[in-house]
Amino acid sequence: MAERRGPVTPVSRWATLSRWPLGWGLAAFTAVVGLGLGSLGALLWQARGLHPAMLWEEPWLAAVLRFTLWQASLSTLLSIGLAVPVALALARRPRFPGRHLLLRAMELSLVIPSLIALFGLVAVHGRRGWAAPLRDWLGALPEDYLYGLSGIVLAHVFYNLPLAARLMLQALEEAPAAQWRLAGQLGLTRVALWRALEWPRLAPLVPRLAALVFTLCFTSFAIVMTLGGGPNSSTLEVALYQAMKFDHDLALAALLALTQLTICLSLWLLALSRGGTPRLAVSGRPGRPPGRWWRRDAGGLSRFTDSLWLAGLAALLLPPLVAVLVAGIVGLPELPQGASLAPAALRSLVMALGAGLGALALAVALLAGSQWLRASRRPFEALVMEGGGQLILVIPALVLGTGLFLLLRPRLGSGWEGYALVVLVNAFMALPFAMQVVRGALPGLSAPEQRLADQFGVRGRARVRWLIWPRLRRPLALALAYAMTLSLGDFSVIALFGSPSAPTLPMLLFQQLGGYRWQGAAATAMLLLALVALVFALLDRLTRRPPRHAWTFLPPRERRDARLS
């Protein structure tokens, strides 16, 4: 706990910082980077004869690299570019029928297992999909637009636009109430609002989001292969899979993993350094329900364009989800008759909770550590610590799993260790997402607030309880939801280690598919989606109630006044 000193002068502000965040940050950093680089190292150590020249000498490999870069850039550009107006529209319209549902669906899309997402996308956009009549009527689209580059980009936008828009919306909603009130009172126009309020909120977020989306698209596997229509469109990850599994060419696998690492990590460093340090704005009250203030830009033309953006989002997002739901409902009678379903669901939930909490703890430790470093004017170290958290994202799961396997050599006969290992790896894999969510909310106390808190001696536990926790609880809940549901739907990690006899929900799904049980599989997929939605809804509900302390409470009169102004 922080040692108590007398009131401090602003000059030596950083000197009074508790060293705890740094310690935790360093511990988390060591764990994450150690695990990531350790598994890569284990692979390199086993591999003999690394031939970097293969990358440009092997024609198909070069082609794959080119294509990967191209589709990932295109997908990122579209996902982020379109997410901005969508997020703005959602922020501008805090109340419309179905808004809640739309937000839930946005959260769902990222965590759907790719197999399920593909089923939904094909059911809607396929040659014989629901959209086929519309497509024929329009006549502009080719019959098989789902296959090839357009399909890959469509699927990636389906996955990533909602994620980006959701995080942008969160950033917009975190804007201090006072700013919106002032904007309302001044009657700022749309352009002025964008320049004064919206863009400054989004600007620090965009580079990070772009890096995240790019990395996800760069390493995408099943989607690129299924919709790509052939080996022309594949990612490095496919080549890596082949090298690792079929050829057992660990040298090539390590080379590919290193290439991927280099490209994505340099992008991350660029993004993180561009993201800039958090602005020292006067922070507002936490937990403010959005859009209480009248906005001049909410009427007129923007009413029309906002509807257009939101309808577009709904049209992108909802039909594939509905397709999964419909197939699931049809398949309900085909669900396994045995008792395996409920235990599988429970097992999945328990494991997801463990992984989610682990990811959250790591994320908070890393961010607190990097914040500490920044506060003590060591921006580079801060950057490295934060970047360390994204490392897992760029190390292919296959490399991580195999490397870990080489390091630990787990014996999976006795259930426990196997599951624990899966939880651990899932926690690490969910970390980058958890960090994205928490990071947006972590600028923390502004300098004046910090000085004030220091002067009043609000430090240590009290500071966390009364000043930091109230601002963090909702982002933390959202981060936990993302981390939990990512592990909930994850199959790849279990697949790496092999599964003991008792299956989790995604394993059950794959077993059903492997055994031709399509309808049952669809029902299981629907249940999985329902669980994911439940986790989000539950965590949202648990943290919705404003925290108990006096000064977040807005007297009703003031609210009324604000709306009238």
């Binding site: 059911a123 052939g230 079929f246 396997f405 050599r409 014996r411 006969g413 006795s414 008792a502």
Partner: protein, 335 residues
Amino acid sequence: MTSKLPAAGLALATLLAGGAAQADRTLTVYTYESFVSEWGPGPGIEEAFEARCGDCELEFVALPGGVDILQRLRLEGEGTAADLVLGLDMNLMAEARALDLLAPHGVDTRPLALPIDWDDDTFLPYDWGHFAFVYDTEQLATPPGSFEELLEAPEDVQVILQDPRTSITGQGLMLWIKHLYGERAPEIWDRLDERVLAVTNGWSQAYFSLFMNGEAPMVLSYATSPAYHMGVEGTDRYQAAHFEEGHYLQVETAAMVANTEVPALARDFLAFVLTPDFQRHIPLGNVMNPAIDLGDELPEVFGRLIEPKSLTFTPEQVRAHRREWIREWLNAVAR
């Protein structure tokens, strides 16, 4: 609140442990995911074997596919936890043998009823099937009767394939074409490319996400796939196209690990593989042909499947040339 914690912890422990009590004589079998599912052959086989051996316990560890079993074996080496591996197919045999981890099965192979002769003393077949193009009769009235007819088919006859780099069926097609066309294979790949709607990473994506959604009238699968649709779903809608020149054969095998701690039990299990008690779970459980003649116990729908000529390379040929053939395929279809 706190008093409930230990109870909750205990409940959690039993939940995660999946009730895997350790018996003294436990036979650990590495196999693939769909084999152990509750509708797969695993549970029935486990029950029958445990009834047979008395106080032993059969424990399956499921990996996604045969390639993963091999990979796991290779990573674990001498210290592997497996006593037995179930699910390495013919094309993986040579590589598995080269690991020097497996022991002879010592089982009398006379009951085997395979379309080819079998004299391997390490790998014991437990089922087999031909790769084939399954078609939707509602989209395609007359399927092509040969590769040539498929290549010459009208433009709307499209197929969904799997990638030979990531999928067993995809690799099967690669071997199939190579076997039929040899040097001409690249040219055939190039022509086939015109017919291809998608090349997925795995069989599940192709069959479930695409074919069952009606995206294309044909999908690369097994000649036994229609048996599931006819026998379990009760529909004749999906059938396999019979190619007159023959189909590539897949034989799935079991083998015991040399330094297992329970060699007698492992041998018992291998002997059990070729009995009706094991084999009766194969046809509709694993949707493959049983390795022995099941007589009346063979489901009637298996009599309605195509019976093509069998094509095979030896495991050693596959091992020697697979990478080169995959490169050939890549360069033929990648532009």
